[in-house]
């Protein structure tokens, strides 16, 4: 984890120093890296019999967790919006 963070900070420094020289699409490189990473991860997960055997139940729990996360942040954002509009 620390290595990954260190590499990200290095990226920020390099990006800052060479911001006028970087001509390629960084977001495209990120997308390609993401795809490769997802693919490698999925192969790792897909070769795990235990996970694949429980995919249907994993999917339900994951979906419920995602909905909970979205609902929680939306509710607090609604309260936050009302507080923001009061301050105007």
């Amino acid at each position: 984890m620390l290595i990954a963070l260190g590499i990200m900070i290095l990226g920020v420094i390099i990006g800052r120093l060479f911001r006028k020289k970087i001509k390629f699409s960084v977001s495209l490189v990120i997308l390609i890296s993401c795809c490769a990473l997802l693919f490698a991860m999925v192969l790792k997960v897909g070769l795990d019999d235990h996970i694949m055997g429980n995919l249907s139940s994993l999917g339900v729990v994951s979906l419920l967790l995602a909905l909970a996360a979205m609902a929680g942040s939306i509710i607090l954002a609604v309260v936050f919006s009302k507080w923001m509009s009061k301050g105007k």
């Binding site: 990226g11 911001r19 990120i30 490698a40 897909g46 235990h50 994993l58 967790l65 995602a66």
Partner: protein, 211 residues
């Protein structure tokens, strides 16, 4: 949406190739854990570069009202509180039977706020493939659902809610739907929220995994 579909396509193809053992044995013999690690480092480097090359970040943040600065932190709090509630509901109803999920690991899964690549890798390493897969799927679902229900969330709950729902993804894949639904004046808040959450998520995950 194209990006999400591309990523979902990679996910599905990987699952199919692995599940049906279509790949040759020489490929299956690779250590995909190590390969994933190196790919994560490449990804993190370019995420850093994308933040570094963005000249407008300081100006965008300076132009925001002071009260707006706490928005991303409320997103994190809201996500965590709702996750704790849902964790107890799922425990009581028996939905978590057969899963290795503890309260801490469940909160950590959702603390990625949509950062599925990072959370998938990190939590697989920390707590095994099952929790890593739940992290990957849960955060991928968050991104897809934000894109799919973006217009409805914006209409009924407002721009702040849509930005909060997107979590970490608002600086890339969910940005177009946010600006389409809420207008270009939501750009500054979206960028600010995305950048703050992008910076905070790796630290939050590392902290939760280490305690």
């Amino acid at each position: 949406m194209k990006v999400s579909i591309t990523l979902l396509g990679c996910f599905v193809v990987g699952v199919v190739l692995a599940f049906f053992s279509i790949l040759p044995h020489s490929v299956l013999a690779f250590d995909f854990g190590t390969i994933s690690n190196y790919l994560l480092y490449v990804l993190m480097f370019f995420v850093g570069v994308s933040i570094g090359v963005d000249e407008s970040i300081v100006q965008i943040i300076k132009g925001l009202p002071k009260r707006a600065l706490i928005g991303p932190f409320l997103t994190i709090v809201g996500t965590s509180v709702a996750t704790i509630i849902v964790y107890y509901i799922m425990s009581v109803t028996g939905l978590l039977k057969g899963f290795d999920l503890s309260l801490k690991s469940t909160v950590t899964v959702n603390s990625a706020l949509g950062y599925y690549s990072l959370s998938g890798i990190l939590l697989t390493e920390a707590w095994g493939a099952q929790i890593g897969s739940i992290a990957l799927l849960s955060n991928l679902f968050r991104e897809l659902l934000t894109i799919l229900f973006g217009p409805l969330i914006s209409k009924y709950f407002g721009a702040h809610s849509l930005i909060a729902s997107g979590g970490v993804t608002v600086t890339d894949t969910t940005m177009p739907i946010i600006l389409k639904c809420c207008g270009n004046n939501a750009f500054a808040l979206t960028m600010y929220s995305g950048i703050v959450i992008n910076i905070l998520v790796p630290f939050i995950l590392a902290f939760l995994v280490s305690i």
